[in-house]
């Protein structure tokens, strides 16, 4: 899952996938604007067949937190 997220991140910002870690923060470290982030969540929904609840994403700041949230969604859904 982490690898797929890294691949999607590279569609939004010019970073090397190998430089992205679980601790990378989307806005501060990777340079996402807030709409980049929202749009990427839409990509992840399609990729992993889950439905993201917009009220639950306020706590997702890092790549690792995104992986954790998506994993929990997959379990729940």
């Amino acid at each position: 899952m982490l690898e797929k997220i890294k691949e999607l991140i590279c569609n939004y910002v010019e970073v090397n996938a190998e430089d992205i870690t679980a601790d990378s923060r989307f806005i501060e470290d990777l340079g996402f604007n807030s709409y980049d982030f929202i749009s990427m969540l839409g990509d992840l929904e399609g990729e992993f067949g889950v439905t993201v609840d917009e009220t639950e994403i306020a706590d997702v700041h890092t790549v690792g937190e995104a992986v954790k949230y998506l994993s929990s969604l997959k379990e729940r859904q």
Partner: protein, 512 residues
């Protein structure tokens, strides 16, 4: 549609049904499936809501109906059912906290609160804090309500009847309730011509409570008979572009930036395919015109879209002017950094550099706030926009900054912080920048771009920022030069419309 026959919002809804009756007005996703309503069905349902309100509250009483939620048919019929009956709607920002919702319900004297089902859990707290709200209607109950009520013909709604109280979000201060009359909405929706056709499809992605979305997506679709498609979530714009294949789209610059990145990424993956073809595919295959508003659009970005084959136009307006003051001519490819040509019926002048506007679209004032109203409107009816700028010989408007952000120097000279901030757009090292005066010293506080943070050392970033400041300083008089420079580690606090809040505590570390 004959402009002389349209006096009120009710007239617009009625005429749209007469002219485009069986044609699809709205498409939206309901439980994953596309649901459609024709102009005729919409007219019928709006009359049913009006009938319900009339029966319950009496035909003569003007009620205030607050409406909250993402774009939906329920939102639309609640707003129009109220306004077409001569009452007043209070559209609220879907991102407001429970506390803010309560405050605005009280301040707006709301009688009926119509809400998307996702606010259900807030309702007990709202009821406890808003004793004057008489009725709560969830959009989930609307289909039952529509089944039980018969359509009631609209009364003759006078042009000067208060249609809505729209609360501004603003980057400074308390939100103000902009009073818009039926005549304001109608003037703004009818002031231009030939903007779209019944063959057009509009994908509406901006928040529905926002006046730019409301007038330009919804009222213009009713006027021109275009099909309006609601984007169900900001997460799903790419999917909905493919699903609805719009020809027209209104966006804010941030969306334009992201979509451009996606096009570039797709183009890099398939270098053999022309970029224009990839761009068209990303935007659903039929898109012709993109209108950008709400914030500053970089002329380079505008140019990039034009080169990809789109009409990319920027407009300018404010809630207080319903909102359009100037609108871009999509055929104008010059990208001169202007925000469009003044719309018909609107007069613009500048006083001490500030743009003042007079037009039938200008609000009646702020609800229950005579002090703010007197500050915004001159006795002879000019709206002080608070924006600094000028109009060129082609009637194009150029914005240089906000008056209230002006820094007054000790020598009496004025500096617009936005003018300085915009000069940093070309420097890759700069993510966000805020310019302000601290202890009478012009100060620039930077949040570095993530690319820079990733690839450069702290010392290199500081060096590059200071270099950028030196270069910008060379373009202004020495009195206007930035003398103090701060760098911060966390993003600036922003408004719900993603503008930097200007009044926030200084968090940066001083590097000069």
């Amino acid at each position: 549609m004959n402009k002389n026959e349209i006096i009120s919002v009710a007239d617009l809804v009625k005429k749209s049904a007469q002219k485009f009756g069986g044609k699809t007005f709205l498409k939206e996703l309901v439980k994953g499936e596309v649901s459609e309503k024709t102009f005729g069905e919409f007219y019928t349902d709006v009359r049913k809501i009006y009938g319900y309100i009339k029966d319950k509250y009496g035909g003569e009483k003007q009620v205030h109906t607050a409406v909250i939620g993402p774009s939906s048919y329920g939102w639309l019929v609640s707003w129009f059912g109220t306004v077409c009956g001569g009452s007043t709607a209070v559209p609220l920002d879907a991102q407001l906290s429970c506390e803010d919702i309560c405050e605005l319900l009280v301040r707006s004297d709301t009688d009926i609160f119509c809400y998307d089902p996702r606010y259900e859990k807030m309702i007990p707290a709202v009821k406890a804090n808003c004793p004057n709200v008489k009725e709560y209607i969830s959009f989930a109950e609307l289909s039952e309500l529509l089944e039980k009520n018969v359509p009631t013909d609209f009364p003759d709604v006078p042009a000067d009847r208060l249609a809505a109280i729209v609360y501004t979000s603003g980057t400074t201060g308390k939100s103000k309730g902009v009073m818009l009359l039926n005549s304001n909405y109608i003037d703004n929706a009818m002031c231009q011509d030939n903007e779209s056709t019944p063959d057009d499809t509009v994908l509406s992605v901006l928040p529905i409570h926002h006046i730019y979305c409301f007038t330009c997506d919804i009222l213009l679709s009713l006027r021109y008979g275009s099909t309006l498609c609601f984007n169900d979530s900001m997460m799903h714009i790419p999917q909905n572009l493919k699903r609805f294949a719009p020809t027209i789209m209104l966006i804010v610059p941030m969306i334009a930036e992201t979509m451009y990145k996606q096009i570039k990424a797709a183009a890099a993956a398939r270098p053999e395919v022309p970029v224009a073809m990839i761009a068209q595919s990303v935007f659903g295959g039929r898109l012709k015109t993109i209108y950008s508003g709400g914030a500053y659009l970089r002329p380079e970005l505008q140019k990039a879209y034009i080169e990809m084959g789109f009409n990319m136009a920027q407009g300018y307006g404010m809630t207080e002017c319903s909102p359009r003051i100037s609108t871009a001519d999509p055929a104008d490819k010059e990208c001169a950094g202007d925000v469009g040509v003044i719309v018909n019926g609107c007069t613009v002048k500048t006083v001490d550099g500030e743009i003042l506007v007079k037009s039938p679209s200008v609000m009646a004032g702020y609800y229950k706030d005579e002090t703010e109203t007197a500050e915004a409107l001159t006795p002879d009816g000019w709206l002080r926009t608070g924006d600094l700028g000028y109009v060129d010989e082609k009637n194009r408007v150029f914005i240089t900054g906000r008056k209230k952000n002006l820094i007054i120097l000790s020598n009496g000279e004025n500096v617009s912080p936005e003018e300085l901030e915009n000069k940093f757009a070309e420097y890759d090292v700069v993510g966000d920048v805020l310019v302000y005066s601290e202890d009478s010293v012009i100060t620039a506080e930077f949040f570095p771009a993530a690319e820079a943070a990733k690839n450069l050392s702290e010392a290199e970033i500081e060096e590059k920022l200071l270099e950028a400041v030196d270069r910008v300083n060379k373009t202004v008089t020495s009195a206007k030069a930035i003398r103090r420079v701060l760098i911060r580690d966390s993003e600036f606090e922003k408004t719900t419309s993603k503008k930097i809040k200007r009044r926030q505590s200084v968090q940066g570390r001083r590097i000069r």
